[in-house]
Amino acid sequence: MTRLVYDETFEGLLTAIFQVYEERLQQVTIIPETDLQPDFFSEDVTVYTDTGKADRVWRGLKPFSLLRQMIYKAYLREASGAENTILEAVRYVLKTKNEKDYGHPAILQLANWTKEVGREKHRMEAFVRFKRAQDDTYIAVIEPDFNVLPLIAKHFKSRYADQVFMIYDLKRNYGIYYDLQKVDFINLDSERLKNLDAITHEEEKCYDVMWQDYFKSTGIKSRVNKKLHLRHVPKRYWKYLNEKNPY
């Protein structure tokens, strides 16, 4: 049994898949380096991430655009063991060309992860709440269940083409920053982001309050359905929703 140890980057994962094919490995698992536990019965091989090899795998999968989508999203899902499900699906699809065979357990699993990540991406497009800073940067902090920042960057860029913004993932400690030209990934001191009040614009309070008012007055009391409300806005997202944190 061979264990391929990779550096948790997407290119690293693709390189590992390349290695599986190059060395015709049959009994193999791919594991992230942080999960590495000594195992007496297996041989550990470190994967050296190689963008050339990663590119070749990616290009090789080009005829299967649906599978490529699913692989990338399954990777962002950060599920333990996802690497091996991805490998299994790649092997199955390259052999049979059946990327839509939802009767196959690996394909169905990838489809379900894709759905989960898609849902989280959509939630973040909805639940990001910007605060205007004194320098006119619009700042938002999030802690999504899955690593969806790379997926939402495009949406926010085309939406706020004329406004400088930053969205920061406190859980994974990185963010995206748009400077009116392009979106970059950035790392900041996350402690400073936990209290934004010191740097917000004076009008921020007004709009914050009015949004909370609006949230209240648009609800209809005789129809209250807390269960449905919670299904749409689960409690774990409340932390950064201003309407759920009344002044």
Binding site: T96, N98, K100, D101, Y102, G103, H104, P105, L108, H122, E125, A126, F127, V128, R129, F130, K131, R132, Y138, A140, H155, S158, R159, Y160, A161, D162, Q163, E203, C206, Y207, V209, M210, W211, D213, Y214, F215, S217, T218, G219, I220, S222, R223, V224, N225, K226, K227, L228, H229, R231, H232, V233, L241, E243
Partner: protein, 419 residues
């Protein structure tokens, strides 16, 4: 900006607008090409949900709640003693832009009470949209209400700035409208719908010839009906919905369970429960018509003028048509798969794809995620077990009800106890 004053207006005018249920923000094609603010080319986004579980995607407000009409069902009617307010055009523009920049909303839903004349009111609504589009470079979603009785020229201009136009028919029957809104004429509702439909068609065909033709109401038009205010049957409601879908090419018809807001002997008393279950069943029927290939006459007809409350309309239809079942999941066509109770369109597509590669059995179907407790009585698959007993519809219904937990169970149990 006088913050406290605007805040007060917002509270009054959002409160008065909340009975309009439409909050869709999808279906437009307005991309952000001018490096302006906003983009409404993608799918709609619900930025939050009210405590009653409805989506909040637009800033939904009235320009004013002053109104010259006295419609019995409306909270803003002339004779109702409530606080009145009115926004200035610039105030609405500022609110919209600032909410949008903070990612609170997808855009603006602007309606209004009718003051001085329909045309005057419509002009003010258009002025807000024009300012947002031309001065603020705003590409977010704008939903404008068409004011009954306004002129064709104004409707034509409105569609150039708005993504969606709507006019609420409110009362599904002409006689009901006469009773509750005697000053309004049914024709005044129909005329703007007709104008919008024609303009959409004209602009679409011109766009084929000349690419620079501006878009006209790209997200189409919609309407809304109040359910349970007058004694209409589900058949009345759905047949008129079908009429609006086909005649005026509506994108959506919304059904709004009547919330008693006023004491009036023509209407259900204050404190009457909102018919939410009925509303839910109407939406299910609407979906069956639009996405599942059903004809309204199959679901509602003179032998069956009202939907069942305890089971969904598809199951109810299937129980009346047991001779068409069981369906073989590995052979049936898409149309018939979509008619099996417990299968949604997503499952249908998954099944169509998956069965190309292997015959599907119960395990596969469970993994795909269909609602087995209902579906199992209506299908066979690649397995030796299936429901072999020749069951009566009543029997199947009671077995399904026993094995399921409906969130509405309380409601229909209470109703049964009354009789």
């Amino acid at each position: 900006m006088n913050f406290e004053r605007i805040r007060e207006k917002l509270n009054i005018l959002a409160d008065a607008a909340k009975y309009d249920v439409s909050c869709s923000s999808s279906g437009s094609k307005r991309t952000n090409t001018n490096k302006g603010l906003g983009d409404s080319s993608g799918m709609g986004i619900c930025h939050s949900y009210t405590e009653d579980g409805r989506c909040i995607s637009l800033l939904k407000i009235l320009l004013t709640n002053h109104c010259i009409f006295d419609c019995a069902y409306c909270v803003s009617r002339k004779s109702n003693d409530i606080k009145r307010a009115g926004f200035k055009i610039q105030e609405v523009v500022d609110l919209t832009i600032n909410f949008y920049r903070r990612n609170y909303i997808e855009g603006l839903f602007l309606s209004s009470g009718i003051f001085s004349s329909p045309d005057y009111t419509m002009e003010r609504l258009i002025a807000v949209a024009r300012k947002l589009r031309l001065e603020e470079n705003f590409n977010g979603y704008i939903h404008l209400k068409s004011i009954p009785g306004c002129s064709d020229e104004l409707m034509k201009e409105a569609g150039l700035y708005a993504d969606r136009l709507s006019i609420n028919i409110e009362i599904p029957t002409v006689s009901g409208l006469k009773l509750l809104a005697p000053e309004k004429d049914h024709k005044d509702f129909i005329k703007p719908m007709e104008t919008v439909k024609n303009n959409i068609a004209i602009y679409k065909s011109e766009k084929k010839l000349l690419r620079s033709t501006p878009v006209y109401a790209p997200a189409g038009q919609s309407t809304q009906m109040i359910v349970g205010a007058t004694g209409e049957s589900d058949k009345d409601i759905m047949y008129s919905a079908v009429h609006y879908y086909s005649t005026y090419k509506m994108k959506r018809v919304y059904y709004s369970g009547y919330v008693p807001v006023l004491e009036d002997n023509r209407l259900p008393a204050l404190g009457t429960e909102v018919p939410m279950l009925r509303e839910n069943r109407l939406y299910q029927t609407d979906w069956l018509l639009r996405f599942y290939g059903f004809d309204v006459r199959e679901l509602l007809n003179k032998d069956h003028p009202n939907l069942d409350v305890d089971i969904d309309p598809k199951l109810s239809w299937a129980l009346r048509n047991l001779h068409l079942f069981p369906v073989d999941i590995n052979k049936a066509d898409k149309r018939m798969l979509a008619r099996i109770p417990g299968l949604g369109m997503k499952s249908v597509y998954k099944i169509l794809n998956a069965r190309k590669y292997r015959k599907l059995n119960w395990e596969h179907l469970k993994a795909i995620g269909i609602a087995m407790n209902r579906a199992k009585y209506f299908m066979v698959c690649d397995s030796k077990d299936w429901e072999r007993r020749d069951l009566e519809p009543q029997r199947i219904k009671s077995m399904i009800l026993q094995s399921s937990q409906s969130k509405y169970q309380k409601m229909y149990n209470q109703q049964l106890q009354l009789f």
